[in-house]
Amino acid sequence: MGPMLLEALTGVLNPVSLLFVVVGVSAGIIVGALPGLTATMAIALLVPFTFTMQPVFGLVLLGAIYSGAIYGGSFSAILINTPGTPSAIATTFDGYPMAQKGEAYRAITTATLASVIGGLIGVAFLIFLSPPLARASLKFGPPEYFWLAVFGLTIIAAVSPRSMIKGLVGGGIGLLISTIGIAPIQGAVRFNFGTLALQNGISLIPALIGFFCIPEVLRMAESSSTSSDAVVPYKRQRKMVTRVFHALIRKPWLLLRSAILGTIVGIIPGAGGNIAGLVGYNEAMRASKNKEKFGTGIMDGVAASESANNAEVAGSLIPMLTLGVPGAPPAAVLFGALLLQGMRPGAELFTYHGATIHAFLFSVILANIEILPLGIILGRAVAALMQRTKVQTMAPLIIFLSMIGAYSIYNNVADIYTMVVVGLLAHALRKAGFFPGPIVLGLILGPFAEQGLLQSILMGRAGGSIFQVFFTRPISLILIILTIISVVTPIVVHYRTKRGKHSRIVDSVTRQEASE
């Protein structure tokens, strides 16, 4: 073990590797910050180039890009209310309100520190607890996915700031949209209205851009009367990093809880950074004494989302490296890169290729640390640039970037139309009081719920008891209990504080339940 770790360290601590980490993280941040350009795409584009490199250098570069891209998604989430990668959806909830209050730099600093800390906690799990965690993740079968999705849908309560009923309707709209396209189990083509473009359903990323970006730009254009309007007000304060760090360190549980949740979601195959961020955000809100402040632009919301999604990076590598089952789409591409280097995931990877793999793991630590200076420098530059740019320049530029982003994900022109139609729909819905958060939640969790439900029913039929499949498995029971707690808590809170700001939301919950 000793000589191998030494070899791994020399593999990382040399000028070439260090340069690759810096280049990878910077490139990742830029890609992540542009809506539509995702971590998966950045890694996929680079794999052919790493093919001819030494395995260590190739993996170091890809790992750095992965970490950088997931973090970079927070920039556009905070500055233009559009998640740069799906992982940053939950970052928009408080990040953008912070920016609107003139605290863009503070939000970015929070996101940066939370990402670094969350990422490092995730890597710690990856290095020390990989094999047992990977084994445990296999216990997640179809019923567990179904209940995870149901639990996830309770987050609607957290992301519906004004009205719970509108939140639930929005979630329903999202779920319905998610049924467009080829059915996951039986294979029938649904709701495509005879058009080929809808055969594959509504692609998630063009829809995300449409839901978040377009209404924001339209609102920007509508509200701008004078030519000197800045997109976000921006104040640069001194000693921001130290102050945010002190504020965060006083809430160790906030970051730790999110990082652990993010790692767990990362390990579960199929559930990616978007769900990690949302779960981290929801649990932070539920644990907080100031629930009503979430969504109004507080640091805690940004920190919870960002530490969860960066911890998810390392989490998604755990089953990929130990079992050969990638935990998230970018990890699947990394898996392809390992195969190209002739390295097969599994036990052999940690023994025969031990030095290379440990060098890779060390480089992920370095990448997370590098996020700190690079994120602060780039974040400051980007925030300042956006402040100086006029709305007349910014609005068309964002639309242009959105179109490129929507197109480039699958090289498909139909995705641009999807984005535009979804965007206009989202704009109209928003005017009627429906926010994108719940809709997108339904859109993401719909396929999970549907597949889990149908696969579980098939399992139950084959085994003789559908009830047993759904209600007697231990992890399912935990998820069911969490779901019940998540639904009941607001009602209990209502009876305790009859006149809190929360009561309006709770009223609508109880009314909703009474009507059922």
Binding site: I43, L138, A332, F335, Q455, L458
Partner: protein, 325 residues
């Protein structure tokens, strides 16, 4: 704002021009014939999958032979149908070619009202490999041979759960073929891809798995491979019998090749066919493919087209007799 923005715009413009001229400079062959500019190689699946890995291996060899850049583009969606529907409408000039996967291109037009293409629309170019599909159970499973499994299924229809990747895919077809040949019934539980289906099986959520050879090799310590869909024994799993040896007349696998838009001129087809032929006969390339667990072929356009016709008849019969179409 003005000066700074202008400076950035100018820098961007310079970069753009530099990038374009770079592409132009590297993308020409010496004589006046085909090809003159970069070729797009469309992969109808996500990056990281077997089609993508193979194309990434082929790319440098193809560029060497053809003298132009080959760009790999991913266009996943609808099980590949999205890319094939687009290919049908692409310019038939040889500069756009696409991965061609069987049985996908045969099943999709059969089971969907409008898949966006017909099997016959895709012009076969070259068939270079097959990933055999095998059937496996957990190490502690009571079944030690395919016969024992089939016997149990015959007595207990629908009781055994089988996982595999997707509906109307190679794995789905393999289990349908097995049911068709043996008159049994299994409960097929499709996962969203090969990796989730392996996770589903290793976690004990399904009793049986239909899996690609590479997954069978990678996880061989955690499963008993009862049969494999090759005609001869698969070198990397010498202990596993073929379906035919185990008493079931079937082969199962995913065939990978490339295809072109309809009406691509024959002289262009010939150039590309020769290029793929040279690549797939390259000893170094073959060694790499063997190592990844593929069965390599060198089958040209005419023979590939005949193979597709033959498979189509077989598959249509199975699907029709099982009431799937």
């Amino acid at each position: 704002m003005t000066t700074k923005t202008w400076r950035i715009a100018a820098a961007a413009a310079v970069l753009l021009i530099a990038a374009t001229s770079f592409v132009c400079a590297t993308g020409t062959s010496e004589d006046g014939g085909f090809p003159q500019r970069p070729i797009s190689y469309v992969i109808p699946f996500n990056p990281g999958g077997q089609s993508d890995v193979t194309a990434t291996y082929q790319k440098p060899y193809l560029e060497d032979v053809l003298g132009v850049n080959v760009t790999i583009r991913h266009q996943p969606g609808a099980g590949g149908a999205l890319a094939w529907a687009n290919l049908v409408n692409a310019d038939p000039d040889g500069y756009t070619l696409s991965g061609n996967n069987l049985p996908h291109i045969i099943i999709q037009p059969l089971v969907r009202d409008d898949a966006g293409y017909e099997t016959e629309d895709l012009k076969p170019l070259y068939l270079f490999q097959t990933t055999p599909i095998g059937i496996a159970v957990a190490p502690d499973s009571p079944f030690n041979t395919l016969q024992e499994l089939v016997d149990y299924a015959a007595d207990h229809p629908g009781e055994l759960t089988v996982t595999g990747s997707g509906t109307h895919t190679g794995h789905h077809l393999a289990i349908l073929q097995l049911q068709h040949q043996t008159g049994t019934e299994f409960t097929y539980i499709p996962a969203t891809g090969a990796a989730p289906s392996v996770a589903n099986f290793l976690g004990g959520h399904s009793q049986v798995i239909m899996a690609n050879s590479n997954d069978l090799v990678a996880h061989q310590d955690e499963m008993k491979v009862l049969a494999i869909g090759t005609t001869d024994r698969f070198p990397q799993l010498p202990e596993a019998p073929t379906f035919i040896e185990a008493g079931v007349e079937m082969t199962a696998g995913i065939d990978r090749g490339v295809c072109l838009p309809p009406d691509t001129p024959e002289d262009v087809v010939a150039v590309l066919e020769a290029a793929f032929d040279e690549v797939s006969r390259d000893p170094e390339f073959r060694a790499q493919m063997d190592e990844l667990g593929f069965v390599t072929h060198s089958i040209g356009a005419t023979e590939f087209a005949e193979y597709i016709d033959r498979r189509k008849t077989e598959i249509e019969t199975v699907l029709r007799e099982l009431g799937e179409i």
